[in-house]
């Protein structure tokens, strides 16, 4: 099995406090990995650190054996929706086209092929009719789908998604899950920061449970157990038991 992502002893600090501490794990190719933990556990920070958006105090990251900096073209990123100002003067198609910029390179214009590809990605997420719609007029779920389409347009091998399921309607949630399945069937590797304990088992094959430090990593069935959940979340015994119970 090829290793898609290797994270070794990564530590990220904010001011004086470590927010991610000495986290290590290795993701094999083609897995759908959820990243779970309580609020403030450093999940989002970890993703940003892996992608080089935040400086690492220590540790290293490699994608398919090479440092991530040289593997940009293989990486797709879906940031949190709040990271962007949705009043920006642009439409849905335009946002998806931004996913093609990496392939076009600096100074170059986009080609007709890029436009077609972007359009196809919008279709995949069911947003083809909204291509020319101003993004401020889209609902939360629609905006999330546009972000996903943009990531698809990157045509990557490894995808990082930051809370894609947060604040979306049921239809969008279904659409996202179908998309994840399709990506998996294409052999792509996907890491998803998630927050909903109820759906972990259903959505993800592998799971990283963390709370600043890594609690456990591996196949969901092995990781998503009461002891680990207790260690990561601490305190919410009742809730954890029933979620893990359903997992069994």
């Amino acid at each position: 099995m090829t290793t898609a992502i290797t994270v070794k002893d990564v530590t990220i600090a904010y001011r004086k406090k470590p927010v991610v501490q000495e986290v290590s794990f290795t993701v094999p190719e083609g897995k759908l990995v959820g990243i779970m933990g309580p609020n403030g556990a450093g999940k989002s920070t970890l993703i940003k650190g892996i992608l080089g958006l935040l400086p690492l105090v220590s540790g290293e990251v490699s994608i398919y054996g090479k440092p991530y900096k040289s593997q940009r073209k293989l990486i797709g990123y879906v940031p949190q929706r709040e990271s962007v100002d949705w009043d920006f003067p642009t439409n849905a198609l335009d946002v998806v086209l931004m996913g093609r910029y990496g392939h076009a390179g600096m100074f170059r214009r986009l080609r007709a092929y890029d436009k077609e590809f972007a359009y196809a990605c919008l279709e995949k997420v069911g947003m083809a009719d909204y291509a020319k719609r101003q993004i401020s007029q889209l609902s939360g779920g629609q905006q999330q789908r546009v972000f996903l389409a943009r990531a698809l347009a990157q045509d990557a091998h490894v995808y990082f998604m930051d809370e894609p399921f947060t604040g979306v309607d049921a239809a969008t949630e279904k659409a996202i899950v179908l998309l994840l399945e399709e990506l998996k069937s294409q052999g792509k590797t996907v890491l998803v920061v998630h927050h909903d304990l109820q759906t972990v088992n259903e959505y993800f094959d592998w799971l990283l449970l963390m709370n600043i430090r890594k609690v456990a990593f591996g196949p969901t069935s092995e990781v998503f157990v009461p002891d680990n959940l207790q260690e990561a979340y601490g305190g919410k015994l009742l809730f954890q038991k029933s979620a893990a119970y359903n997992a069994q």
């Binding site: 004086k16 000495e22 105090v57 220590s58």
Partner: protein, 292 residues
């Protein structure tokens, strides 16, 4: 009293009063709103000068204060109408200031203001313009700024809890029943009054400096609001005194020198503050890296 002393007193009072009120602007992330008001009161001052022939300062103070509060109101209205905050501030104050400059240029002979004066005031003239109240003779500017300072202290003292909460968490304050809007415009009125009282002596730019710089320096030294307020007054006075000395020695603009001194003071705090300074942070990062 020597002229020099009056100038120092004026400068210190301006710096202390503005620095004190400015702390709340800093905490509420409204420093640029303070900048906006200090520019926008210009047309108000000009019109007041025009109407009252600069003999009745109280009316000028009130009139220009109204303009200052109106400015905050315009900006808020624009913001609510969909304009992003920084652009709303930018549009309103530059337009109003432009109007003010035009008025000053056109009617300079009728009012005793000229365009340069507007920018950096003429604090050197302060001791020449004396006024007697209750048998005490002091420069008019000193009367004004002392009055405004006293009023600022009074209002902040009265509304201390409210100002503190609103600065920290406006939503929670509103939920707790505190009239957030009233407090906001009260602060804007204080800023306007301070601006106007200071304008004639130190001009638009120094007012901004005094509103922001002493408080910012204090912010880097302490975690307690009371201490921050006190320190900002001290820093304001120090900047004013140091500035005067420098200005006399090099024969340069007094208000400019006071501003520069404040800036230097800030830089010292920025670098060497025991808790928040750059030097201590670098040392802390090194300690953290060694531990990992």
């Amino acid at each position: 009293m020597s002229h020099g002393l009056w100038i120092i007193i004026t400068g210190s009072l301006v710096a202390a009063s503005c620095g004190f009120v400015g702390c709340f602007l800093i905490l509420r992330r409204m420093a640029m709103l303070g900048d906006a008001i200090s520019h926008a009161v210009l047309p108000g001052i000009v019109i007041a000068f025009f109407l009252s022939n600069s003999t009745d300062n109280v009316f000028m103070l009130m009139g220009a204060t109204v303009i200052g509060v109106l400015t905050a109101f315009f900006i808020q209205t624009l913001h609510t109408a969909g304009v992003q905050e920084d652009a709303a501030i930018g549009v309103v104050f530059t337009s109003l200031f432009a109007i003010g400059v035009v008025l000053v240029s056109l009617f300079a002979s009728d009012i005793h203001l000229d365009v340069q004066h507007v920018l950096y005031g003429e604090i050197a003239y302060v001791p020449w313009d004396m006024a007697t109240l209750a048998g005490v003779e002091m420069p008019r500017a000193v009367w004004m700024i002392s009055g405004v300072f006293a009023l600022s202290l009074l209002i902040v003292g009265l509304f201390y809890k409210e100002l503190k909460l609103v600065s920290f968490d406006a939503q929670m304050a509103a939920a707790a029943g505190i009239p957030v809007v009233f407090i906001h415009y009260l602060l804007m009125a204080l800023v306007s009054m301070n601006t106007v009282a200071a304008f004639e002596s130190v001009g638009a730019i120094l007012v901004v400096a005094m509103l922001v710089v002493p408080g910012a320096a204090a912010y880097l030294l302490t975690d307690r609001l009371g201490a921050m307020l006190g320190l900002s007054i001290v820093f304001g006075i120090v900047s004013a005194c140091a500035g005067y000395i420098i200005a006399v020695y090099f024969d340069v603009s007094i208000s400019g020198a006071m501003t520069t001194s404040a800036g230097l003071l800030f830089m010292l705090c920025f670098l060497f503050s025991p808790r928040y300074g750059v030097v201590s942070r670098v040392l802390e990062q090194r300690r953290l890296k060694k531990a990992t």
